[in-house]
Amino acid sequence: MSQKRLLSDTEIHIILHRLACQLLENHLDFSNTVLIGIQPRGIYLANRLAKLLQQDYKVHDIKLGSLDITFYRDDFRRGDKILAANQTKIDFLVENKKVVFVDDVLYTGRSIRAALTAVQSFGRPKEIELLTLIDRRFSRHLPIQPNYRGRQVDAINEEKVKVMWKENDGEDAVYLVSR
C-alpha cells in the first residue's frame, strides 16, 4: 500500500478561501442560505467553511447543520457491514432556503443521492447546491456534479482518496492511497 500526497495544508488553506469566496459570490449575506455537512466526513469541511466565512469574511449569521444519510442509502443489506448511523443536527427548517451540501469527496454520487432524499424530511428547499473538496471525476454512477469543487482528481477505482483534518486526524492533507 502506497500513498501520494495530493494536497498540502497550504494548498488546502488556499482552496478553502477560494471556496468561501465562491460561496459568498453566489449567496452574499447568507440570509437565505444554509450549509449542511454530510455525515460523517463532510462536517469538518462544513465547519471550516462556516468558521472562515464568519471570521475572515464577516458573515455573521451562518446556519450550519449536519445530515446523516445512513437510513436513506441504497445499499442496505447489500454489503457485509452493518451501516452505522451518525448524528443529524438540523435545527432550522430548510423550507424555501438555498441549501448547500458540503462533503469532502464526491465519488459515485450515491451519498449525494441519499442526501437529496434525506433533506426532504426537513422541508422543500428552494434549491440545492453541492460543494466538495475533492471531485473524483470519471467514477460517477449517477448524473450528479458539484457546483463548487476544490480539486479535481483522476483516480482509478482501486485507489482511495483520504482527506485528513487537523481537528480529527492531526493534519490538513489529502492523500491518494493505492493498494
Binding site: 445512513t70 437510513f71 436513506y72 442509502r73 442496505f76 443489506r77 452493518i82 448511523a85 443529524t88 424530511s121
Partner: protein, 308 residues
C-alpha cells in the same frame, strides 16, 4: 459499530451488554427521526414484516406497527381471534403459510412461554418476541432501561424496584435480565404469593414492605396485577392489595428523595398507582411509550440488517 450477536430477539437472556448498547445507540438516531416533521425513513422498503398476535395488545402492537411503518417496511397484521388458528391450524403451519407470501420478519406475541424460541427453530425468518406468556417481553425491558438511562444518565449502579405481580409478569423477568446486565441493583416487591420462589437465583433482592422498597430505590417500575393469568386468588381483595402495594401521592411525597415512576401499561388507575401519581412530574410513563417506538425501530433495523 458492530452488529447484534443474535439473529432473533427472543429474550434479553440471549443478549449481551454490547447488544444493548448498540440498540440504545441506534435508538438515539431513530428518536431524532421520529421527532422530525417528516417522521419516516425509506430504509426497510424491501422488507416485509408480519405482526402475529395470539394475545391481546394495544400499545405493543401499535408501537411495533408504527416502528415498522416509520422504517418503510411493508406490514401485515394478523390476530388469532379472526384466524384459522381457531379452526385447528398449528403454529408452524400458520407461520409458514404467512412466510410463503415472502415475509422476512415475524413479530409475535403468544400466550405460551417459549413460543418464539420454538418458532425460530422451525421457520426461516427473523423472529421478534413481543411477549411470550409469563416468560419474556424483551422490547419492553429495553425501552424501560432506555427510559431510565434518559432520565438518570445511566443504568449502572442505579437501584430499581419492580413492584407488583412478579409471578405472572414477563416484563419483570425481561427487566431483571436487562437491568442486571447493565449493572443496576434490582429488588422486587409484592405480596409473597406473587413473588416466584427462586427469584433470588437471578440475583435480585426481595422486599415485602413497599415503603422500605421505595426509600431504597431510584426507580420504581409498577406492574399491573394480571388477573387474566390468575386461576386462584393470590391476595384477599383488590382493596387490600392497593392498601399494601399501591402507590399514592401521599406515599410518594413522604419519601426522602424524588424517585422515578415507571409503568409498562395498561394502568389500572387506583389499584397499583393512583391517577395523581401516574400523571405527576415524577412519572415517565408517556416517555416510555415514545421511547418504545424508537427502541423497536432500532431492533427491527438491526435484525433486518442481518437478513441476507
Amino acid at each position: 459499530m458492530g452488529e447484534l450477536s443474535v439473529n432473533h430477539l427472543l429474550g434479553i437472556k440471549y443478549l449481551n451488554q454490547k447488544d444493548i448498547q448498540l440498540i440504545f445507540e441506534t435508538a438515539d438516531h431513530f428518536k431524532e427521526v421520529i421527532n422530525r416533521s417528516i417522521k419516516k425513513v425509506p430504509t426497510l422498503r424491501d422488507i416485509t414484516i408480519a405482526n402475529i398476535f395470539f394475545e391481546n395488545s394495544t400499545r405493543t402492537k401499535l408501537s411495533f406497527e408504527l416502528a415498522e411503518k416509520r422504517l418503510s417496511a411493508d406490514v401485515i397484521n394478523f390476530s388469532a381471534a379472526q384466524s384459522s388458528v381457531k379452526k385447528g391450524e398449528t403454529l408452524i403451519d400458520t407461520v409458514n403459510n404467512i412466510l410463503s407470501m415472502k415475509v422476512d420478519m415475524v413479530v409475535m406475541r403468544h400466550p405460551n412461554p417459549g413460543a418464539g424460541i420454538f418458532l425460530s427453530k422451525h421457520v426461516n425468518a427473523a423472529i421478534v418476541n413481543a411477549g411470550d406468556g409469563a416468560h419474556e417481553h424483551p422490547t419492553q425491558a429495553l425501552l424501560d432501561s432506555y427510559s431510565i438511562k434518559e432520565e438518570l444518565g445511566e443504568v449502572a449502579g442505579k437501584n430499581v424496584v419492580i413492584v407488583g405481580d412478579i409471578l405472572h409478569s414477563r416484563v419483570a423477568l425481561s427487566n431483571i435480565f436487562a437491568l442486571k446486565l447493565q449493572g443496576a441493583n434490582v429488588k422486587v416487591c409484592g405480596p409473597k404469593t406473587l413473588i416466584p420462589k427462586h427469584i433470588g437465583s437471578l440475583g435480585v433482592g426481595v422486599e415485602t414492605n413497599l415503603k422500605d422498597a421505595l426509600e431504597w430505590c431510584d426507580v420504581a417500575n409498577m406492574l399491573r396485577v394480571q388477573n387474566e393469568r390468575m386461576d386462584i386468588s393470590y391476595f384477599p381483595t383488590t382493596r387490600e392489595y392497593t392498601q399494601q402495594y399501591g402507590v399514592d401521592k401521599k406515599l410518594l411525597d413522604s419519601l426522602e428523595k424524588k424517585i422515578v415512576i415507571m409503568h409498562p401499561g395498561p394502568i389500572n388507575r387506583g389499584v397499583e398507582i393512583t391517577s395523581d401519581v401516574a400523571d405527576s412530574d415524577q412519572s415517565v410513563i408517556l416517555n416510555q411509550v415514545e421511547n418504545g417506538v424508537a427502541i423497536r425501530m432500532a431492533v427491527i433495523y438491526l435484525l433486518a440488517s442481518k437478513i441476507k
